[in-house]
Each structure stands twice: as structure tokens, then as C-alpha cells.
């Protein structure tokens, strides 16, 4: 048994979501649901118990008619890097059911390891984590469309967006067969990115200057990976969660809605990282 593999340079998969382009159509949500075997129930109108890895928030500028403005904000798991991979959720999971990969920058969730304490849900300020309050049940016949690439979750465990990691696994399979060491940008795209009819989502390796997402975001490692793009912001950047999902908006109120600011503070202030 001889192993000739070598370390690839570490990747950091991330997203840039252009809120100017996002129309709130919900295709990303359903693309995610159908890609990832997400269950559904008869009444999904109680959004506090509904599972949607990708969730689209509706933001308003709070002004009265006719100055009202709306912005939609799709929220996948932010795959926080925190400090050195200790994202808010990873560090709190008591059973190591969630983990941060230094190779891909993806926060994983292993359903069979999770025993449902929900501490990670409490730790996540983005509400990106969902608990299976019920057994997943598909109407008779509908289980036929379930994908074998994503394991259906059982009742009593937490689940969340995986950046469609199985697609990376499959792309890697192909790369192995062709004796390639890396997965090309186009070979690994998340389901939401692929589906978005407005092309608002760009996904790729933030560490790789050849990838589009890097070119858009231009992360600044010296400033906690803050984007150099003036349109870009991250959700709750100043908490130090160091997320890998960047948002782009040309509207000041939208960028400001991405984080908490004191009245006198300017939007986009440098993160106040505590850790």
C-alpha cells in the first residue's frame, strides 16, 4: 500500500450573492430542497419549525409608502471560519458532530453523530441550523426522487446547508479517475448557484485568484477576510464569525442591515473581532 497523495493548497469555498440581482424568486430554496432531500410537511407556514437550508429573508428599509424599498437576502449556512476554524457552532458541539474542514473551509454536519442537543442552533446567530422535529415522511411514491448522494436525516437531529458537499465528493471522484489533483471551478457548484435564474450567486474557492468568487470578493486576510469590494459585506461581520458568504449591494441601507451598528457608526466599519 503506497500512498502518493500530497497536500493540495487549502481551499476556502465561499459564496458571493449579489443582492442587486436577487429577485427573491425562491428557486435557490427549492433547488436546495430537491438536491438535498429536504422533507416537507402539510403545513409549512410555521417558519420556526420549517426546514429550509437556504432561506430567503425579506428586508425592508422601514420607510413609509411610497419610499418603501425591499431587498431579498438568501441565507445559506455562512460556513463561518471563526478564528482558525472555530466557528460558533463547531466549537460548541459536544459530540464532534459538526466539524470545520481546513481543506475546503466547509462546516460539516454528520447526522448520524448528532444526538440532537441543539446547542449549535443556539450558537448560530444566522438561524442556519434546523432541527428535525418530525420523522421525515414523503407521500407514497415521492421517495422515488430522493437522491442517493445526500443521506436523508432522521427525526431528532440537526441539519444545515453543506455547500452541496456531495457535489465536491463526486467531482473529486471524477478527478481521481482522470488522475487530476484538483477539482475545477465548474465541476463543483452548489445547487442554488446552478439554479439561480438571475445568476446572483457565485460560488468557488475564495483562496484561488482564478476563481470568479475571489475576483468579486477580493478578501483581505489581514482584516479578517473582509472584502475589498466596496459593495460587499458579510452578515454580522463584527461578531468575529468570519463567514464565507459575502453579499453585494449597491444600496447603503442594505449593507447596513447586514450588521449591527451604533447610531454614530458608519456602515462597513472594520470588524471588531474579539477572538
Amino acid at each position: 500500500m503506497k500512498h502518493e497523495q500530497q497536500h493540495n493548497p487549502p481551499m476556502k469555498y465561499g459564496m458571493a450573492i449579489d443582492l442587486d440581482k436577487c429577485t427573491g424568486c425562491g428557486a435557490c430554496m427549492v433547488a436546495c430542497m430537491s438536491e438535498n432531500n429536504i422533507p416537507f410537511r402539510e403545513d409549512e407556514s410555521d417558519k420556526l419549525v420549517s426546514i429550509s437550508w437556504m432561506s430567503v429573508f425579506k428586508l425592508t428599509n422601514g420607510k413609509a409608502f411610497p419610499d418603501t424599498e425591499i431587498c431579498y437576502l438568501p441565507r445559506p449556512c455562512q460556513h463561518c471560519e471563526g478564528h482558525g476554524g472555530h466557528s460558533p457552532c463547531v466549537s460548541v458541539c459536544p459530540a464532534t458532530a459538526t466539524d470545520y474542514s481546513a481543506e475546503t473551509g466547509i462546516v460539516s454536519q454528520i447526522y448520524t453523530r448528532c444526538f440532537g442537543c441543539r446547542y449549535c442552533m443556539g450558537a448560530c446567530p444566522y438561524h442556519a441550523r434546523y432541527f428535525n422535529w418530525w420523522d421525515p415522511v414523503w407521500p407514497e411514491g415521492m421517495e422515488k426522487y430522493l437522491s442517493p448522494n445526500v443521506s436523508p436525516r432522521m427525526r431528532g437531529v440537526v441539519e444545515k446547508c453543506s455547500f452541496c458537499f456531495h457535489r465536491y465528493q463526486l467531482a473529486k471522484n471524477k478527478a481521481y479517475l482522470n488522475d487530476e489533483r484538483t477539482v475545477p471551478e465548474a465541476a463543483y457548484q452548489t445547487a442554488c448557484t446552478q439554479a439561480c435564474p438571475a445568476g446572483a450567486i457565485v460560488f468557488g474557492d475564495l483562496n484561488n485568484p482564478a476563481h470568479q468568487v475571489h475576483q468579486i470578493v477580493k478578501p483581505d486576510p489581514r482584516k479578517g477576510n473582509k472584502s475589498r469590494n466596496p459593495r460587499a459585506f458579510r452578515l454580522l461581520e463584527r461578531l468575529g464569525t468570519n463567514p464565507k458568504v459575502y453579499y453585494l449591494s449597491s444600496r447603503e441601507w442594505v449593507r447596513r442591515a447586514g450588521d449591527n451598528y451604533l447610531a454614530h457608526e458608519k456602515t462597513g466599519q472594520v470588524s471588531n473581532v474579539h477572538h
Binding site: 458537499f165 465528493q169 471522484n173 481521481y176
Partner: protein, 229 residues
């Protein structure tokens, strides 16, 4: 209430016995004997009887002669268990693959007859029971091991390629897994690399394979999503 009463009385009786007879010199021996009996019985129960109950057996649809086939085909295991173009592993061959050769019976054996009559002519897939089927949460990349790490099949699957007949499929009644995952040995000991296929076995080999398997921030081993889905 009566039980409480009895109990109370029992305690009193016991006390009375003590008061009368003092220490029963023989009792110590008996006590140890009973301890040993209890100990031995439960050990037998746990080590011998329990595994009998825990595992059940199923027969394969018919017996398959790996040894014979390996001799007939040109490319070893990969002749039938090949990689698809997308890098996925085909696993147990589909009927269509078998019928490339087996359109007509190719031998005189009873198994061949079953195969042709029950499956080929009726165009039904053979419901093979896979000895090494991992649970659904596992993403196992054959290509990473076989092509990437240049491992051979025997390391994990043992010498199944030399088998002349299909052994019964044993599975755990509680979990539904094939027994090969936990291994034959109830204590979990293994002598060969293919005796067991639990996560620890994967992890052990990955650890030995060196420095590249350290992507997990939590464990400094391989990150969970390397082998889980």
C-alpha cells in the same frame, strides 16, 4: 401495604436468624460459589448465546463462483466491478452486464439454471445481498482508494475473489447491517485488514497513510465530510 409488611417481617426474621445462629461458617463458601455460577452463566450468555441471537442469516439468491469468473475475465475484479465515467463505482454488476455473456446458460450447475430461469429470462435484477454495504451516511470513494491511493481490493474485501461459492449473508438483527461491518469476532478483534469495516478501521488506515489526512479542525484527522454524506 402487605408487601411492605412482609418485607419488614423478612428483615426482622433475618435479624432473628443472625441473633440465633451467629455467623454461618458455610455461607461464605456458598456465597462465592453462587457468585461464580452467576458470573460464568452470564459470561456464556454474553459471549456465546447472545451473538447467536444477535445475528441472522440469509442465503444469496444463488451461489456465485468468483474464482471461476476471475479466471474467465481478462481484467481481474475491474472486469465486472468497474468505474463509471464519472468516477463512481459500479458495485455489484447489473443483470445487463451478466447477460453480455450469460444470454444462454453457460454451465450445467444448478445456480446457473436458477440465474437464467429466474432472472435472465424474466429480465429481473438479481437481489444480491452485499456483504460490504456501508450504512447510508457513508460516502465511500472507491476511486480514491483504488486509483488515488493504489490500494488493492483484498485490503478491504479479503479474498472474496478466490471464493467458489457464496457464503450466507449474515446481518445484525438490531441494526440491519451486514455482519462484515462489525466483523465476525464479537469482541471486535481483527487479524486481517478486511476483518472489519467500521469507521475506526477507516480511520486507522487513514492515520497510517500520513500527513495529508489532517483536514479536520476538531480532530486533526480527516474532516467528517471526507467519508460522510
Amino acid at each position: 401495604m402487605s408487601t411492605l409488611d412482609d418485607k419488614a417481617k423478612g428483615v426482622m426474621d433475618d435479624d432473628a436468624a443472625h441473633a440465633e445462629g451467629g455467623e454461618d461458617t458455610g455461607a461464605g463458601g456458598f456465597i462465592i460459589l453462587f457468585f461464580i455460577i452467576g458470573f460464568a452463566a452470564s459470561m456464556v450468555l454474553g459471549w456465546v448465546v447472545f451473538p447467536q441471537f444477535l445475528y441472522s442469516q440469509k442465503q444469496q439468491p444463488f451461489s456465485f463462483n468468483h474464482a471461476l469468473h476471475v479466471g474467465e475475465v481478462g481484467d481481474g475484479c475491474e472486469s465486472c466491478h468497474f468505474f463509471r465515467e464519472d468516477g463512481s463505482f459500479s458495485g455489484i454488476p447489473k443483470l445487463a452486464q451478466c447477460t453480455e455473456c450469460h444470454e444462454e446458460p453457460m454451465g450445467e450447475t444448478e445456480d446457473e439454471a436458477i440465474f437464467v430461469e429466474q432472472y435472465v429470462t424474466r429480465d429481473r435484477e438479481v437481489p444480491w445481498l452485499s456483504y460490504s454495504r456501508q450504512p447510508d451516511c457513508v460516502f465511500f470513494s472507491h476511486v480514491a482508494h483504488v486509483v488515488g491511493a493504489k490500494m488493492d481490493c483484498v485490503t478491504c474485501h479479503g479474498h472474496i475473489g478466490e471464493s467458489e461459492s457464496s457464503r450466507p449473508y449474515e446481518y445484525n438483527r438490531v441494526t440491519g447491517y451486514s455482519r462484515d461491518i462489525w466483523g465476525k469476532n464479537i469482541a471486535g478483534f481483527k487479524r486481517n485488514s478486511w476483518d472489519r469495516m467500521k469507521m475506526d478501521d477507516c480511520a486507522q488506515c487513514h492515520k497510517e497513510a500520513g500527513i495529508i489526512h489532517t483536514s479536520s479542525v476538531q480532530t486533526e484527522r480527516d474532516a467528517c465530510f471526507v467519508c460522510h454524506k
